[in-house]
Amino acid sequence: MAITEVRWHARAGQGAVTAAKVLAEATMAQGAYVQAFPDYGPERMGAPLRAYNRISDAPLTMHCAVTNPSVVIIVDSSLLDTQDVTEGTPEDALFLVNTSYTPAKAAKKLGRSVDHVYTVDATQISIDCLGRPIPNTPLLGALARISGLVKLDVLLEDLAANLKKKFPEKIVKGNTESVERAYKEVKTK
């Protein structure tokens, strides 16, 4: 059984829990068994928050914490200075950082090899596409590109189907555009 564990580092209110949910739904649409859950504590807007995914090709029975993720997504780059975002990760863990930094600069901050570090300016992309800084959605596009966990077309279809229930066409389109842009613009060394 192949299980991929993902950890999201964000600040409360940035949509990381929603992003973990969308990732779960999109990977489930590809036939995977999925889990998505955050660490719950006192809920304060802007407080550091972790959320997790487990994605598996066989049914998942374990319900313990994710302690050794092989994929880490940093939604807010200010957390690089205050949180141990590499905690428990193997040396070849993949890091995706929302930042305007180059992968080399982000890798230096992480103390990891640039081979496994990717960056994308998801905040700028969401401002361009949606007029608001909601970086979680474009990050999923970048993740699709670098991890192979989810296919871009499946992600776009799932996202559009979900957003259509609540939002007008313009917002749906802005979101899917932001995913496509991040997919194209994610930087590697």
Binding site: A20, K21, V34, Q35, F37, L60, T61, H63, A65
Partner: protein, 393 residues
């Protein structure tokens, strides 16, 4: 059949309630209750159900309203958790003693103090002697399935007892996972119409509910409750068989996982059982004969069936995610140990209290427990009968 979805335990349970479409739902709709009631009140507001929703000012009042509605002849549900369950305590006995088949969805959460909101079974254990049937669920799928079956079991004329369906707070209630929803109509067909018995609203045949019942008849009525709980065992199995035909998913009084030929075994409720299964698969691949008994119901307590399932095992650890604070182990421990007292062969049994207030039970903790059981099975000696794990020393 059914629809594959990814949803939290809370939303899964709220959807079961939507598909059940009870006549009345009275609840205290905010914390300590979880999102179940928030989601269900959306269904009510959207007209997806015909339920009369009674937002009460406390859980004590919520259960009181449920009792009234059930006595009137309605199909009645509620949801609570933690301190809310504790505040319902007095009325739980009245629901059971009046033989009212109310069904309660519960996210099992710790009790204060210290103040904590996370998962353990302390809330349910406080209600274990109240006369309610108690279900426990490993994951969102089981919570959903158990809630649907609980309606049939509670309303069965050989039972007529209220039932509570638990799942671990946060670990299941607030976590998204893959599961399957049944079709709305399939759930309606499965549960059928509400089976009423001497409803108060049958005004042509007036009845009295809850009168004084002193030395003359109280004990006869309690005896009937005892018989009803005994009957529940058979009804639970019968309803589970029908549910398997509908869903393909199998249920019984407990789940025996890799237990038939096990030399060492763990007993655990709720989500911990899933984590334990992962370790069992790992141990089995290296030739260690490890198994699990996951109780689905704690009330009724299926003592004979448990004795039969565990008597061949050499060493057993009963794991409690609650402490009765009696100084000698958690609430499951004495009951499981006593179930084996009359068995011709019985295992050595230890107790470990774990995970209180949501403390994580990791794979390594479970490996350690099986390691200790292997040692006990080998030497025939127990070093520590009962104690805490997943704890700072």
């Amino acid at each position: 059949m059914g629809q594959q979805v990814a949803m939290t335990g809370n939303i899964a349970v709220a959807n079961a309630m939507r598909q059940i479409n009870p006549d009345v739902c009275a609840a205290y709709p905010i914390t300590p209750s979880t999102e179940i009631m928030q989601q269900f009140s959306n269904f009510v507001a959207d007209g997806d159900v015909k339920t009369v929703l009674v937002p009460a000012e406390s859980e004590h009042s919520a259960m009181s309203a449920c009792i009234g509605a059930a006595a009137a002849g309605g199909r009645v549900m509620t949801a609570t958790s933690s301190q809310g369950m504790a505040l319902m305590w007095e009325m739980l006995y009245i629901a059971a003693g009046n033989r009212l088949p109310i069904v309660l969805a519960m996210s099992n959460r710790a009790l204060s103090a210290p103040l904590n909101i996370h998962g353990d079974t302390s809330d349910a254990m406080g209600a274990r002697d109240s006369g309610w049937i108690q279900f426990f669920s490993e994951n969102a799928q089981e919570a959903y399935d158990n809630l649907i079956q609980a309606i049939r079991i509670a309303e069965h004329m050989d039972v007529r007892l209220p039932a509570m369906v638990g799942m671990d707070g946060f670990i299941i209630s607030h976590s998204i996972e893959s599961m399957t929803l049944l079709d709305d109509q399939a759930v309606q067909d499965f549960i059928g119409d509400c089976i009423t018995h001497m409803p108060l609203l049958d005004v042509d045949n007036p009845k009295t509910f809850g009168p004084l019942d002193l030395q003359d008849y109280y004990i006869e009525h309690k005896r009937q409750e005892y018989e009803a709980m005994k009957n529940a065992k058979g009804v639970i199995v019968e309803v589970a068989k029908e549910f398997t035909e509908l869903s393909g998913r199998e249920y019984g009084l407990f789940e025996a996982y890799a237990l038939d030929d096990a030399e060492i075994a763990i007993v655990a409720l709720n989500s911990a059982a899933g984590t334990i299964k992962t370790v069992i698969d790992e141990l089995r691949s290296t030739g260690v004969r490890a198994g699990l008994l996951k109780p689905r119901v704690f009330r009724p307590f299926p003592a004979e069936e448990i004795a039969e399932a565990l008597s061949h095992v050499k060493a057993v650890c009963v794991m409690d995610r609650a402490d009765g604070v009696n100084g000698t182990g958690g609430p499951l421990f004495p009951e499981f140990r006593s179930a084996l007292y009359d068995a011709p062969k019985r295992p050595l049994i230890i107790n470990r209290i774990f995970g209180l207030g949501g403390r994580d039970l990791g794979l390594h903790h479970v490996r350690d427990v099986y390691g200790e059981l292997q040692k006990i099975a080998g030497t025939g000696k127990i070093e520590t009968l009962a104690g805490y794990i997943t704890v700072r020393n």
